[in-house]
Symmetry: C2
DNA sequence: ACCGCGAGGTTTACGTTATATACAGTTGAA
DNA sequence: TTCAACTGTATATAACGTAAACCTCGCGGT
């Protein structure tokens, strides 16, 4: 970690970095004329990093490991990618490349948004590192991520909600998927059972301090759920959105 | 980072670590008889780490920095804390120490749960590092966190929902608060405006690719919201929960 | 055709991280 | 008094991101 204690770069520098990073994401970098042919591209680098992350997790993605995939020194990558942060952005864009297709879900905002959430959830399941990758600072969305966002907002247009509300609902659904991904990431079968056993003993001994929790556990609150975990939260949220829509229509009409 | 490529510790070792960590969280460690008096305690170390994180962020919390706070070598801390991960757990427990008081919110599950969410949100605002700290693996809740959980579950007892559903609703509300914290953490005034400007140009140029997004922006979807950001999502979620309660009551009665 | 400069790639080095190991100093119980 | 247990330090290791200096190409302008 070369975190130099927040060197507080100059504003011009940061803007230049940002501009370069965005150009990279949109593929709008002008390639050079003079000099040897490049042996790599940002795209190929990102793809190698993605397969590495899929196989061994985001922690395994170091400049060294990625460079080794091309039999090249780590520093060589910096000719194509300004920093590791930008590489991660490219990885996110790479796996978000194909825009979700909501037409098969049928008409109406709710089937569309549900399908959208399911597709996003599938993406997070296929690439468990996505959560950590997008949690990193510098939330600079590239065209692929904007495509996902556009698809969700399109599904919401028929609701009659205001633009700000549509955006808020979008954030709500994204949040639900990401929360689920977080819960799944935390989950380790053995570890969880072991913690449950050890903490269970302590809970018994202090049952008076945690009455509601004790009762809920006794009633099986932590038993593995039978239904798809995405459904419960999503259904509640969309029910709530429906309530808002009904109220809005009632007022306007 | 001494991440030794997931050395896959033996199960016995992991269980012992877990047991030691839980004992630490619950303050159930037996103190030694012979030997010099300890000059520190896990508690004092955690408190120093908390003030450091409050002031300079979680990234500033290194074993060296914390140890320096006591004019002591970094390795000395390992006499009190098994690893940095456990230290972070202790930090979380420290700031979660006081159990939320929901009695002032009045009767009924909804005012109680709303108050609970507001208090948790206040905690995340007071300690912005909480999100990252709790996102780290090994979700081993100590008594303080269990106290928060118990308070939320207690508020939900009057709903008549099943234990599993109460748990799910709890997760939903926690998730909403954490999502908000995430959105706030990503947000940097200057940076965001700059990204909006640069991406806005690109969006104009590709408006046909993102029609719904373009329309939403034109209608001011990204204008700073006037209301408290927690409210929108929370209201939608709790509306949805109310729908579920109504449906459940309708069936049972 | 030449030549210089820009570009690709390597090497080396720095500062930082967590923590394993070996050791020295201190203290209470036997 | 002796000894084992305990505290704290010093040293060492592996890994990380990346800055800086350097060599080696090969195209563009002359």
């Amino acid at each position: 970690m070369a975190r130099a204690a927040k060197p507080r770069e100059s504003k011009e520098k940061r803007t230049r970095d940002l501009r370069a990073g965005i150009a990279l994401l949109w593929g709008e970098q002008d390639q050079p004329a003079r000099g040897p042919k490049p042996s790599l591209t940002p795209r190929r680098i990102a793809e190698a990093a993605v397969t590495l992350a899929d196989a061994e997790g985001l922690e395994a993605v170091s400049m060294n490991r990625v460079a080794a995939e091309f039999d090249v020194s780590a520093m060589a990558l910096y000719r194509y990618v300004p920093s590791k942060a930008e590489l991660v952005e490219l990885m996110v864009e790479a796996v978000s490349a194909e825009r979700p297709d909501l037409l098969a879900a049928g008409p109406g905002w709710r089937p569309g948004l549900t399908a959208w959430a399911r597709l996003l959830w599938a993406l997070y399941q296929a690439h468990p590192w996505l959560l950590a990758a997008t949690a990193m600072r510098r939330q600079v969305m590239g065209p692929a991520q904007l495509g996902w966002m556009d698809a969700a907002l399109a599904a919401l247009e028929s609701t009659g909600l205001a633009a700000g509300q549509r955006h808020q609902v979008f954030l709500l659904v994204v949040g639900q998927v990401r929360n689920l991904a977080q819960q799944l990431a935390d989950f380790d079968e053995d570890h969880n059972r072991e913690w449950g056993r050890l903490t269970g003993e302590l809970l018994d001994r202090h049952a008076d301090r945690f009455p509601a929790l004790t009762k809920a556990i006794a009633e099986g609150a932590f038993a593995p759920a039978a239904v798809d975990p995405l459904d419960f939260g999503l259904d509640r949220i969309l029910d709530g959105v429906q309530v808002l829509i009904d109220r809005t229509e009632g007022v306007s009409s």
